[in-house]
């Protein structure tokens, strides 16, 4: 982490910014209504792809222009830098930001795909057989080109990351993608290696829990294990940073564990795994029509799980200030689930989160008259704490739903659960927006490199929170399936 920061400050000082670079000291008038809300990683994957596919076209055009002219490589690359720089304003956050930030997990995969397409498209359109041959052919005529690209690119990426965690991650991602298309063609495999590494670095830097997302993608470990690891790493980092600086940073993972979120998740995973095994073993005992029919029924349950879709466009932070609307909808949704005690705990968590927001807002107003500065770290800590608590309670709720479904043999409707999931994710998204508004207000006098990482942190954890809740929701599938099988068996016995 510190490596990256060091190098980017050095680069900022030591290099001339490309034309069009916005003044980094200005935190760029932030549009607080911009939409960076937690969304499901997997679902956004499809959406973010087209944006990346834009890149190859641009790159091809540039490349072709260059081929035609056979000159001015520097100009071409500065165009590329410019276009990425132009995208660094908070306003642009709206589109790129949403897909990249909310899909921090998916991004590695997506970027990778995008690159393959860059390679393929470039190869087909230019009629070049292989990257290796390509680089050999072009090496002579573009040697200078590559050198210049390399330096330009580094400048761009480093300048941009100086803006702060959030912007740094987004813009260097986009600039890496944009400039790499070109470098891939002229520079061959080295560039591929570069972008892979760079993308990882960029993402890892912006996402303290990156390890867990990486783990999630490979699906080798269970979610709670992965989370535990991420948490341990955070704790280690805290200890290390405690030694060097006194500054306290709120750690989502630690708080999530304090609220027993990890334990409930672990328990839910156990129930889910066992139910899944039971479903499988039941299926092996059946044959013919019976098997087909059960398969159909199980698939029907599965399909209702796939329907979870929530659109964060709907989330309006001005609405439902005191959380009463959420409360009403939530209580209606959990009514038939016989988990009232846990639901009540969740409600309490949610109320205290709303109170936190209003307290921070109040203090802000007082501050204007009394000039007592309210620390952004405090607001950030309150935000992270609220997110962690609400997420832990949500996981607990799903765990309790799993338990009651298993022992009561009652029929839990998947539609109710997916409605709950959407409701909870929306509430998290709403909370993160409110808290970042508070942060922006509280940090009006802070430098961008202090404020932005905190804001990014809140959005990232909100996005992660939504992912955990959705993953927990999916863990309920085998539980509903086995409970369906049990009910069938009981019915046929009677």
């Amino acid at each position: 982490m510190s490596d990256g920061e060091d190098s980017c400050t050095a680069a900022t000082e030591g290099s001339t910014s490309p034309p069009g670079t916005p003044d980094m000291s200005l935190p760029v008038a932030m549009d607080t209504s911009t939409d960076v809300a937690p969304t499901r990683r997997a679902r956004r994957r499809a959406e973010s792809q087209p944006e990346i596919e834009e890149t190859p076209k641009q790159q091809q055009q540039q490349q072709q222009q260059q081929e035609e002219k056979g000159e001015e490589p520097g100009q071409a690359s500065s165009q590329s830098s410019q276009s990425s720089v132009a995208h660094t304003g908070w306003g642009y956050w709206g589109s790129w930001g949403k897909s990249i930030l909310s899909t921090a997990t998916a991004t590695v995969a997506t970027v990778g795909q995008g690159l393959t397409q860059v390679m393929e498209k470039a190869e087909t359109s230019l009629g070049i057989p292989s990257p290796t041959e390509l680089s050999a052919q072009l090496e002579e005529e573009h040697r200078q080109d590559v050198v210049m690209d390399g330096s330009n690119e580094a400048d761009t990426a480093d300048d941009l990351s100086a803006v702060g965690g959030a912007m740094g991650m987004l813009s260097s991602l986009s600039s890496v993608v944009q400039s790499t298309g070109k470098t891939v063609i002229s520079g061959g495999l080295d560039a591929l290696e570069f972008i892979g590494k760079k993308t990882m670095d960029v993402i890892a830097e912006g996402d303290p829990g990156f390890k867990k997302t990486k783990g999630l993608m490979s699906r080798n470990a269970t979610l709670s294990q992965v989370l535990r690891e991420a948490k341990e790493r955070e704790q280690l980092q805290t200890t290390e940073s405690d030694a060097s600086e006194k500054k306290t940073v709120a750690h989502y993972g630690v708080m999530f564990d304090d609220f027993q979120g990890l334990s409930h998740l672990e328990a839910l995973e156990i129930l889910s795994r066992e139910s899944e095994a039971k479903v499988r073993s039941v299926l092996t005992t059946l044959s013919g029509d019976e098997l087909l029919q059960l398969r159909d029924e199980l698939d029907f349950i599965k399909d209702s799980f796939a329907l979870v879709e929530f659109d964060d466009e709907d989330v309006d932070e001005k609405k439902d200030e005191d959380g009463s609307e959420f409360e009403k909808e939530f209580m209606e949704a959990v009514e038939g689930l016989s988990v009232s005690a846990t639901a009540h705990k969740l409600m309490t968590a949610c109320r205290s989160a709303c109170t936190n927001v209003s307290i921070t807002n109040q203090r802000k107003e007082e501050e204007e008259s009394e000039r007592t500065t309210h620390s952004v770290e405090e607001v950030h800590a309150a935000a992270i704490r609220s997110l962690a608590e609400l997420t832990a309670r949500s996981i607990e709720l799903f765990h309790k739903v799993a338990e009651t479904t298993l022992f009561s043999g009652g029929c839990t409707e998947a539609s109710v659960l997916s409605q709950l999931t959407v409701l909870l994710c929306k509430e998290l998204s709403l909370l993160s927006k409110r808290f970042t508004s508070c942060l922006t207000a509280a940090g009006a006098n802070e430098k961008a490199d202090v404020l932005n990482p905190l804001i990014t942190g809140v959005f990232l954890e909100a996005s992660n929170s939504a992912s955990y809740i959705q993953d927990a929701f999916l863990l309920l599938l085998p539980i509903l399936q086995i409970s369906h099988i049990k009910r069938n068996a009981e019915a046929s016995q009677q």
Binding site: E232, Q235, L236, T238, T239, D242, T248, V249, A250, H251, V254, M255, D258, Q260, S263, H264, A267, I270, L271, E274, V339, A341, A381, R385, H399, K400, E403, T404, L406, F407
Partner: protein
């Protein structure tokens, strides 16, 4: 601020089992909060508690799974036994039926955990001496015959509560030290944190009461 330092070297998973109403949740609450919960609601499925203790000079985080005692939850709670390093098997000294059911709980515990799992028998409600229905000697003999640790405790007064959790932890730690508990085994119920720095530092934050150790 909950930026807790990385202040433990091991995590031990515990389960608390036994009939309904013997005071499992109250023991846990007394252990983690040092308070007696008079009107404790029935546990549904499983609830959790954690506390960091010092065992053999090492900070150990106990992750405690407090299971529901009701028979109807039994199928679900059995799922949670796996991977426990320690089991607290609780009965009520004023209700013989809870003592009589111990063999069934013990069978579950033996079948569903690994051979190294340390089981401690706890006779709860020791403060209600006048209503005693099971003698100390009788229970002690049962414990000895089955190779269990044994204590009588009171979740109400706090007597022997700390000791119950600590005795089991000491035995687990001893098993680690003499190599009989393989930390690399998937279900040892113990996670070692070798990268933990000395582990001596306590944070003066909101977690402090939970982390208060016997030292």
């Amino acid at each position: 601020m909950t930026a807790a330092p990385y202040n433990y070297s091991y995590i031990f998973k515990y389960i608390i089992i036994g009939d309904m109403g013997v005071g499992k949740s109250c023991l846990l609450h007394q252990f983690t909060e040092k308070k007696f919960m008079a009107d404790c609601p029935h546990t549904i499925g499983v609830e959790f508690g954690t506390r960091i203790m010092e065992v053999g000079g090492q900070k150990v985080k106990l992750q405690i799974w407090d299971t529901a005692g009701q028979e109807r939850f039994r199928a679900v709670t059995r799922s949670y036994y796996r991977g426990a390093a320690g089991a607290l098997m609780v009965y009520d000294i004023t209700r013989r039926s809870t003592y009589n059911h111990l063999s069934s709980w013990l069978t579950d515990a033996r079948n569903l955990t690994n051979p190294n799992t340390v089981i401690i028998l706890i006779g709860n409600k020791a403060d209600l001496e006048a209503q005693r229905d099971v003698t100390y000697e009788e229970a002690k003999q049962f414990a000895d015959e089955n190779g269990l640790l044994f204590l009588e405790a009171s979740a109400k007064t706090g007597e022997n509560v700390e000791e119950a959790f600590l005795e089991a932890a000491k035995r687990i730690y001893q098993n680690i030290q003499d190599g009989s508990l393989d930390l690399n085994a998937a279900e040892s119920g113990v996670q070692h944190k070798p990268s933990a720095p000395q582990g001596g530092r306590l944070n003066a934050d909101s977690q402090a009461p939970k982390e208060g150790c016997s030292c």
